[in-house]
């Protein structure tokens, strides 16, 4: 699945996007976070504060329990500060 990172999360992880193969058994946004946190310190730091993580699947805001599959585009970012 294609994953996008923005702002502080992008900086912590060190890239703005990547494509991963979803391991079997991982089928929610929260599951993807748990999986990524196992991939290195940069991910652990990026996802360290759950209340500062927002997610979108295919350009729609979703919660951590939202279902995902390899065909989805997932995005992670901090709370928005536009306007």
């Amino acid at each position: 699945m294609n994953i996008l990172y923005f702002a502080l999360i992008r900086e912590h992880i060190g890239k703005s996007s990547e494509t991963i193969d979803l391991p079997s058994g991982i089928n929610t946004v929260g599951g993807v976070i748990d999986y990524l946190e196992g991939q290195g310190d940069n991910y652990q730091i990026a996802f360290a504060q759950p209340d500062l993580i927002r997610a979108a699947v295919n350009d729609e805001y979703v919660g951590l329990d939202h279902a995902v599959s390899d065909a989805d585009e997932l995005a992670f970012f901090p709370p928005m500060t536009g306007g």
Binding site: L4, F6, A7, L8, R10, A56, D59, Y61, A75, F77, P78, P79, M80, T81, G82, G83
Partner: protein
């Protein structure tokens, strides 16, 4: 309805003209311009960078605009949100609402600004004398959004 996510600056007279030219039924035009401030808390700001999620930004701005059109008697509206590097005093965001009556125009513009603050996928990074940092979301912006529910 004009929704634009752009790096270029904008001119409010020009944008109002686009909404009102050739129309004589609009009595009220409310607008809001957000500018980069030179100070945040106690820190002096030298530069602001706005990062955004392009695909989603335009989509969310459209959603917010459509909600405003549905809820109030708004004739037409424009939302322009810039991204990229800006200096104190620069324009960041523009909202214009037109209506037959001033109440609807004001309320819709305020609604749009409140939602933009919390729902538009933009992130501000400030460059201060002590280095750069991402701006934290404000809880009072969430509260301002909540009152519209």
């Amino acid at each position: 309805m004009k929704i634009s996510v752009q790096s270029d600056d904008f001119d409010i007279s020009e944008e109002i003209k686009q909404l009102t030219d050739g129309r004589t039924d609009i009595g009220a035009v409310a607008s809001f311009v957000g500018l980069v401030r030179d100070i945040h808390g106690v820190k002096k700001i030298n530069k602001l960078t706005l990062e955004h999620f392009p695909a989603m930004a335009k989509k969310e701005l459209n959603k917010i605009a459509n909600q405003a059109m549905d809820r109030w008697q708004v004739e037409d509206l424009t939302i322009i949100h810039r991204y990229g590097e800006m200096l104190p005093g620069d324009q960041i965001v523009l909202v214009i609402t037109t209506s037959h009556h001033r109440e609807a125009a004001f309320t819709a513009a305020q609604f749009i600004m409140d939602w933009l603050k919390t729902d538009a996928p933009f992130w501000k990074k400030e460059e201060t004398e002590d280095g750069t940092h991402w701006v934290a979301a404000k809880t009072d912006d969430d509260e301002k959004k909540e009152r519209w529910k």
